[in-house]
């Protein structure tokens, strides 16, 4: 199985396009999108179209559901609320219907995919500590669990025999038998780990390799679009700050 995993595109067309262009040499692969295709960025419709054309899997993130009107956005911070409202107004009914029909999680053999956490996917829990990951491993049977939502890439390996977990800080690893893996694939459109480059994960289970890849893109163009559409300037600033 060859997977290219992307998440949290957040309407950032420049980042998405640069990612797909950079990943061309990795083909063939199954493109798996873990949600939050829209929200914050200025190209929600174009992102839905591009992902819709190419992806084998499209999950719904909390922003997608808020834009579709399926979850209230009162719990969102003011900037997120504003961008949800703007996004709603800038999508057609068809696009909103598409978002409302997206699944919350997906399982394929050894692989589990969710936007935030496979535990109670509608609650969109943040998985941030080893304790949280232990809970995830305890509740699913699959060897691999892929999530997004935090915009912070992470890789945790669990030794199945001992139950011991380890945070892996290298961007590329060889998969080992007897280990389970929890992977947060980071964000394409709004990374928050102090690295503004779009983040994706490539998995080739035959070759036994998993790798985080970073792609630089024309941030200025994305920023200009955000400002041109009157969205909060903070959304433009944070693309460069990567926070």
């Amino acid at each position: 199985m060859r997977y290219l995993l992307i998440s949290d595109i957040h309407g950032n067309l420049e980042a998405l396009q640069a990612t797909l262009d950079a990943a061309e040499h990795l083909m063939p692969y199954q493109l798996m999108c873990l949600g939050d295709i829209v929200g914050y960025g200025a190209d929600p419709a174009a992102c839905i179209n591009l992902v819709g054309d190419r992806a084998n899997l499209m999950l719904a993130g909390n922003h997608d559901l808020a834009v579709a009107g399926l979850i209230p956005h009162e719990g969102f911070n003011p900037v997120a609320r504003e961008s949800v409202e703007w996004t709603r107004q800038n999508l057609t009914n068809e696009d909103r219907e598409l978002l409302s029909g997206l699944p919350l999680e997906y399982i394929d053999g050894d692989y589990c995919f969710a936007h935030a956490s496979p535990i109670d996917p509608m609650s969109f829990h943040y998985v941030r500590t080893l304790e949280d990951v232990a809970g995830v491993f305890a509740s699913i049977g699959q060897r691999f669990c892929f999530v997004g939502h935090t915009h912070l890439p992470a890789l945790v390996a669990m030794n199945q025999a001992s139950g011991r977990m380890e945070v892996i800080r290298e961007p590329k690893i060889c998969l080992k038998d007897g280990f389970r893996y929890f992977i947060n694939v980071g964000s394409i459109g709004q990374p928050r780990d102090n690295n503004p480059d779009a983040c994706m994960v490539f998995l080739d289970d035959e070759a036994g390799a998993l790798e985080f890849l970073r792609v630089s893109y024309d941030i200025t163009a994305s920023q200009e679009k955000i400002l041109a559409h009157g969205l909060p300037s903070f959304l433009a600033e944070r693309l460069l700050l990567a926070r």
Partner: protein, 468 residues
């Protein structure tokens, strides 16, 4: 990218982070701090957060992102670490000089910041030595950090460990330069020069008592309060007060909407400030009443009832404690001035083996901690954080805008030697020496005045009381 800070030694480190583990490590660091200053670092891919301990004091905190140092409150440290992404924890033993130098990096703006490719570093150091300056020179790039400390033109080095072997007979300056030139061969470093060496403690710094066994977040963080809107004794709605303000008014754009003509469009606001909560009337027509009294702006305590028109808003805490506003931290100085004599000479970190720490000086410098009252007259500096006692050990005490002054004060038009207090013929006199700000004794501007017991001296915004 992780900037490795200099330290005496690593006390402990943990890959597995949890709030309980962090609390445990912080307790260890607190205990260790009775001997030497210590710090706890929580780091993930994106940032490193530090909290510094000194003599059972939670002294200061900061965050490093991409090599950039930023000062924070201790509360920010606790909140920030709880939001990090699979972080790890490390605890270090420091010494006073390392602590001071790190606080400089977090708190001060450098007088000079250049790339090594643009400056002759030898020349910069020569100039410092010729001028007899006291300053800190830092060299940084990516994850490398080295600091060289000068005291009156003499060098004491605090260096990051590097795999370069240097003969032991070399000077601190030479070792610093060798380390830098090795690294800078690939890419230039940023050299910063810090001349302002007055550091201070965090706005929410605290001394922790010996019997403290609780969690630190119980001291600094509390659950957000609940605000309950009631009419005729029954609750109509409630909100969790977890943002900086809640607007109360008649119109629907408010957070708390009271649809009643007695209520103004924007009637009042609830505000959160550093863990304390306030209600402020917004020039409303009928006023805002708290516990039966009309108020402009007042602090809210658990159970307070705000009356607006015919409605009541009850403010309820959920546990935890307010961070007391302006709590004085007993025994603290407002600023930690490391006078050169009080710093034990620090051996540079040689990669093959960590050297023994140099013997500690046994007497404490008056600038580091308040002394007990003694036969010598004292100058008590009153600050909002507590009193600082400066003992007059010699016949002369200098007050000025100079790090080496006996009493260092800041402000515009304050001279390096602004005033002196001298003992002459059994009398104690205060004399103005320079600068433009007036010196007042007991309210009167003077050039020279005799000081009596409890005389009040004021220079710019600083107040001192003379005690015989």
């Amino acid at each position: 990218m992780r900037t490795i800070i200099p330290c005496n030694r690593l006390l402990e480190s943990h890959e597995e982070f949890s709030q309980d583990k962090l609390d445990e490590v912080m307790h260890h660091a607190l205990t260790a701090s009775t001997a030497q200053p210590s710090c706890v670092e929580v780091y993930d891919q994106g940032e490193q957060r530090f909290v510094f301990f000194r003599e059972r004091q939670l002294y200061a905190a900061g965050v490093v992102r991409g090599g950039q140092f930023e000062n924070t409150s201790i509360r920010d440290y606790l909140l920030g670490t709880s939001r990090m992404n699979f972080p790890a924890i490390a605890c270090y033993e420091l010494n006073s000089a390392i602590l001071h130098a790190l606080l400089i990096l977090f708190q001060k703006k450098p007088a000079l910041r250049v790339l090594t490719s643009l400056v002759d570093l030898d020349q910069v150091l020569d100039q410092i030595e010729d001028d007899g300056k006291s300053c800190i020179v830092s060299a940084a790039r990516d994850n490398f950090l080295a600091m060289l400390r000068y005291e009156r033109g003499r060098a004491t080095a605090l260096c990051h460990e590097l795999s370069v072997s240097v003969p032991r007979e070399s000077s601190f300056r030479d070792e610093f330069l060798v380390k830098i030139y090795t690294i800078t061969a690939a890419q230039p470093l940023t050299i910063s020069l810090f001349e302002d060496l007055l550091v201070t403690y965090a706005e929410d710094a605290r001394t922790i008592p010996e019997d403290f066994a609780n969690r630190f977040d119980s001291l600094y963080l509390s659950k957000p309060p609940i605000v309950s809107l009631q009419f005729k004794g029954r609750e109509v709605d409630h909100w969790v007060f977890d943002r900086p303000r809640l607007n109360i008014g008649r119109t629907p754009d408010n957070d708390v909407v009271i649809d009643n003509l007695a209520v103004s469009r924007l009637h009042a606001v609830l505000e959160e400030e550093k863990g304390c909560y306030f209600v402020r009337d917004c020039d409303s027509l009928n006023g805002t009443v708290v516990n039966g009294q009309k108020v402009g702006r007042t602090r809210l305590e658990d159970g307070d009832t705000i009356s607006i028109g015919k409605h009541s808003i009850v403010f309820r805490r959920q546990g935890g404690r307010d961070v007391p506003a302006g709590e004085s931290v007993a025994g603290f100085d407002q600023t930690m001035i490391i006078a050169p004599e009080s710093v034990p000479p620090v051996m540079p970190a040689v990669p093959t083996a960590r050297p023994e720490a140099a013997p500690q000086s046994t007497t404490r410098d008056a600038a580091m901690s308040p002394t007990d009252p003694s036969k010598n007259p004292c100058l008590v500096m009153r600050t909002e954080f507590g009193d600082r006692v400066i003992e007059m050990r010699n016949d002369r005490l200098v007050i000025g805008n100079d790090m080496e002054a006996d009493v260092a004060i800041e402000g515009m038009f304050i001279a390096r030697e602004h005033a002196e207090i001298v003992r002459e013929n059994g009398r104690v006199l205060l004399r103005k020496l320079g600068g433009l700000r007036r010196v007042r004794v007991d309210g009167h501007a003077v050039r020279e005045a005799e000081l009596k017991n409890h005389s009040e001296i004021r220079i710019a915004s600083d107040l001192f009381v003379f005690e015989e």
